[in-house]
Symmetry: C2
Subunit: 296 residues, 2 copies
């Protein structure tokens, strides 16, 4: 991307300081030096006079700055116009969420639709055993996933939901008459195995493999959907940690949801394929960032 070099040049022309330029553009100082050095080599002329104490534009640099600034402004204005056209053009965003989270996201969706009247949002369902596939196939545009998400091809955007966690257990379970449980209690029970498709680092952020004291939490039988999990829990074969939101929207017979008082709050963030972002997705992310996370 040669445009980046131009951006670096223009920023340095403004800041007259390599370190600050690097900071502003979120790159390393070395990168700024390289970019400028390369431009100067290509052009065959110094754009900046610099010692390690002082940076200033040469006459050629000053002239180039004016020309490029103008060009870049035009360019970005053109692209922005095209993007704006896109947002007005009736795009539908398919957002994958767990269970009823879509309802809790109503404020975000409303704000987004208000800002972008041409657009629409549809929710699709995802589940913990396979959190990324629908995104990667293009079936969904955005997923709302608990963090951390560390997939090389996915971008993690703003957090949209935060909340506590509950333990689902059978009403007949010895712990069921408590007011709350501790993560330590998990060590004495099986939790549902979500299967091999979801990366372990991600699953274990919700379903830990060890208690804070280090005791192993055994994985029991596998389940792929939310209802399979519930049925294992109902049968008393497993307990299972879930987001607090689940307790708010579900009241299945034979199951109790008890707060896990020592589990850290969990965050759900917008996530999308890095290679497939688009103005609509960025607009949703922007709206989410402006709104801030919704706390349960």
């Amino acid at each position: 991307m040669e445009l980046r070099d131009i951006e670096i040049f223009l920023t340095l022309a403004e800041e007259l300081h390599f370190g600050r330029t690097a900071e502003r553009l979120h790159v390393s100082q070395a990168r700024v030096s390289q970019a400028i050095g390369r431009q100067e080599r290509r052009l065959g002329v110094a754009l900046f006079d610099r010692t390690s104490r002082r940076v200033s534009l040469t006459p050629v640099g000053r002239r180039l700055r004016e020309d490029l600034q103008q060009a870049l402004d035009l360019l970005q204005a053109g692209l922005a116009r095209a993007e704006a056209a896109s947002l007005g053009a009736g795009h539908t965003l398919k957002v994958g969420v767990f269970g009823h989270a879509g309802h809790e996201l109503r404020p975000l969706v409303d704000a987004f639709l208000a800002r972008h009247p041409g657009c629409d949002v549809q929710f699709g369902e995802i589940n913990g055993s396979d959190p990324f596939t629908a995104l990667r196939t293009g079936d969904h545009d955005v997923h709302v996933l608990w963090l951390p998400v560390a997939e090389p091809d996915l971008t993690v955007g703003p957090t949209v939901l935060t909340g506590g966690r509950v333990l689902a257990l059978s009403t007949g379970h010895p712990l069921a008459d408590r007011d709350s449980v501790s993560l330590e209690d998990l060590a004495d029970n099986y939790v549902v195995d979500l299967g091999p498709e979801a990366p372990e680092y991600w699953v274990s952020a919700m379903v830990p493999t060890r208690t804070p004291l280090g005791r192993r939490i055994p994985r029991g039988p596998a389940a792929r959907t939310f209802h399979e999990i519930l049925s294992l829990v109902t049968a008393g074969r497993c307990v299972h940690p879930l987001g607090e939101i689940v307790a708010r929207y579900n009241n299945p017979p034979g199951i109790a949801f008890l707060p896990i008082h020592d589990a850290p709050t969990i965050q759900f963030a917008l996530t999308w394929r890095s290679n497939h972002d688009s103005p609509v997705i960025r607009a949703l992310a922007q709206t989410a960032a402006d709104l801030g996370p919704i706390s349960l």
Copy 2:
């Protein structure tokens, strides 16, 4: 380089044909398709309506074309101005050549200096045992080398010299009273070994390892400089093929230069580090291209 994508977009907007666009920009048709597809994904809007029969701009595309065309023109004008400033700023180009080739290149240098009065050309000497090092270290900006040159970090520019070839041999050599020799004659003699620093494919373009009929041409003792070669030849220990130009400018005692009548013409081309081109180098190359090769 995101600028390339813009260039591709603008060209396609003009041609309305992926194949022709690819041809004009010297890229594959797939690349054009990829570039446009990516732009459209990023912008979230179609820029072209297309079937496999017909390509046309959408309204958004039409508008974007106008904006980007203007921006790109400005940008290139700015860069061109800076380049022009560079050419006026008294650059000195260090050109590495073999022996007296610099004299033969006088017409090129004169034309170049006439076009770019602020610039200067200095010649440095190179020799066949180590043709690239001075270029890579930055001691020289350009080398005039016989072809083929196939180094990944070097760019081969226009051919500046072409000429026949001669065999240097001792005046006491049995062949010395001929009018000319054949490549086949080499098989009965040792040729000078230029050492391991020069790549074999390049050396053998001047000093073949086999005759056209396939007989091996034995390599004799090693020599690093032109004068070392001559002294081996004078001593009768070797013969050695050289460019015709050598015979024109040298008349060393005890050595005869006989035309090799069946050796193909050899070409010498401007060569420089791909990563270190500059307006001055490009200007020299342009002048050379306009002038055409000088035939001996």
